[in-house]
């Protein structure tokens, strides 16, 4: 493929800058949620129920994005919801990588029965619709923040294991690894000094996109009523509450979805940029 022209690169970087701005804003909103919130995210106000956003008739300046069915401030819940979504996204992806990367290194380097065992396990897991696995596991463990992270994290290991395994398989035959081995370097040294540094790039790229996927999966599980128990403000749970009020309170279902859309879009833009930057061999998934 010919090298992208300067204009094209700039435009792509422009998209990446936009993505980063969105993510910084989301992180800022999450960190500063208690300061920025105009109200309390979990305090009910039954007299002020279903107040529309402030620019509409009947809107109240105290509640810029309106209130929900229990009179809670929607903007405050969205800001606090950013904490939940980003926290789950980051921790679950980290957990998946911490599980998957060593498995990939080990199975790729050693081969043999561990390789067969883990790759067949992965095949089985991939034939399971992700959401069903999540629903079943949460039904066993009970819905809570920790369990949600556990379920989304543990079920993500196979992505990392497969990529790292594939890279390891080809790296361990390369000249520089062969040379180190011929000089008597132990396996541990080869894996951590020569192989691991060379698989970072795809790991970082895949992890970035995974955060987006986990955020959507969390929202889906919460939407099905299996996420954080109420009254915790989670974007998925807010959508679940909002869908029964499409006729009387459309803003309840609209804003949390927009928030997810923005954050996921930001992650995808940054992910595209990282992929081009770090790993030109990875195919552009477009």
């Amino acid at each position: 493929m010919p090298r992208a022209g300067a204009a094209k690169r700039l435009r792509r970087d422009g998209a990446a800058i936009l993505g980063m701005l969105v993510l910084v804003a989301a992180l800022g909103a999450a960190l500063l949620a208690p300061v920025l919130s105009p109200g309390d995210p979990v305090k009910n106000d039954l007299l002020g129920r279903l107040s529309p956003p402030m620019w509409l008739d009947g809107g109240d300046r105290a509640h810029p994005l309106g209130t929900d069915t229990l009179g809670r401030d929607v903007l405050s819940r969205l800001l606090h919801g950013a904490r939940v979504s980003l926290w789950i996204g980051l921790t679950a992806v980290m957990m998946a990588a911490i599980l998957g990367v060593p498995i990939g290194l080990w199975t790729g380097y050693r081969g043999g029965w561990p390789d067969d065992l883990f790759m067949r396990l992965g095949d089985i897991q991939l034939a399971f619709p992700v959401l069903l696995l999540g629903i079943a596991l949460l039904a066993v463990l009970g819905a809570s923040l920790v369990n949600l992270i556990l379920v989304l994290g543990v079920s993500g290991w196979i992505t990392y294991a497969r990529i790292v395994r594939g890279e390891t398989l080809s790296l361990k035959e390369r000249g520089f690894v062969e040379a180190a081995r011929a000089l008597g370097a132990p396996d541990r040294y080869l894996i951590f000094r020569h192989i691991l540094p060379n698989v970072w790039a795809p790991i970082v790229v895949v992890a970035t996109f995974s955060i987006a996927r986990v955020i959507i999966a969390e929202a889906s599980l919460s939407f099905l009523g299996l996420g954080l128990p109420p009254p915790a403000p989670s974007w998925g749970a807010m959508l679940d509450e909002g869908r029964n009020y499409l006729t009387t309170g459309w803003w309840l279902a609209l804003f949390p979805g927009l928030a997810i859309l923005l954050v996921v879009l930001g992650i995808n833009l940054v992910g595209d940029w990282l992929r081009d930057l770090l790993d030109p061999r990875l195919e552009r998934g477009i």
Partner: protein, 307 residues
Amino acid sequence: MPRFLVRRLLHTLFVVWGVVTAVFFLVRLTGDPTALLVDPSATQAEIAHTRHLLGLDRPWHVQYVDFLFAMLRGDFGQSIQLRRPAMQLVLEHLWPATVELAVAATVLSTLLAIPLGIVAATHQNRAPDHLSRLASLLLQSMPSFWLGLVLILVFAVQLNGLLPAYGAGTWRHLILPAVTLAAAPLAQNVRLLRAGLLDVLPQDYIRTARAKGLPERLILYRHAIWNTAIPFLTVTGLSVGFMLSGAIVIETVFSWPGLGRLIVQAIPGRDFPVIQAGVFVFALIFVLVNLAVDLLYAVVDPRVRLS
């Protein structure tokens, strides 16, 4: 080729076995369904009796071996909640509801992708291309169930019931859920087709086709498009998994009486036989579609050798 097929079929059997085994033990970890079934005032003896009737008082390994042998005969047991054969219930929900939805979404996302991908590729870096990139970025970044809610909001609420928001039965009921399910795969297909065409169009045989004066339409639809088929196939295979998973949420959003919704409702009721039969069918479809995709590689591209 026959050896390849045998090996892949064995692998398929293994994966399906793994999935049903995992689901068998997973559902039993969620608790005892008899507690949900009997009257709250039932005595311990009555509860024990019900548990015995359901066969759930036996050790798990005995139940498991029984389950495997019954499964080989095609018997997935009776639904605990509805007292009907579980597999029959599952098949009733799979056909026609879920199949209708999945087929409509696949057709939509594939057929619409072809003209849109061609327009994006032939107008590279001009307005239609940018528009299509923006649209696919947006479609791929939104949760599908939220898109469903927005569509309901627009077409059922704002436009005063132009299209029905819930239920099934007529083709009008099918439109919103099918569009919702098709959106993300459509976006991906368009980008994939565009990338494929951009690789193919500068090649010599396309230049030859142009030189001999073939109309552009024929060049695009006859010559260029077939050579983008391989990545297209892979993604279609993967998107079946997405469709099955997506169907679970989207059937819930639209109260679509399909298999995904059946399983989602069976989990809180601990209806073990229905969950087992439903997940078995999901897994079977997933592995068979992926096997079919692998076989189709060789059909689409004769250079591919199956080994």
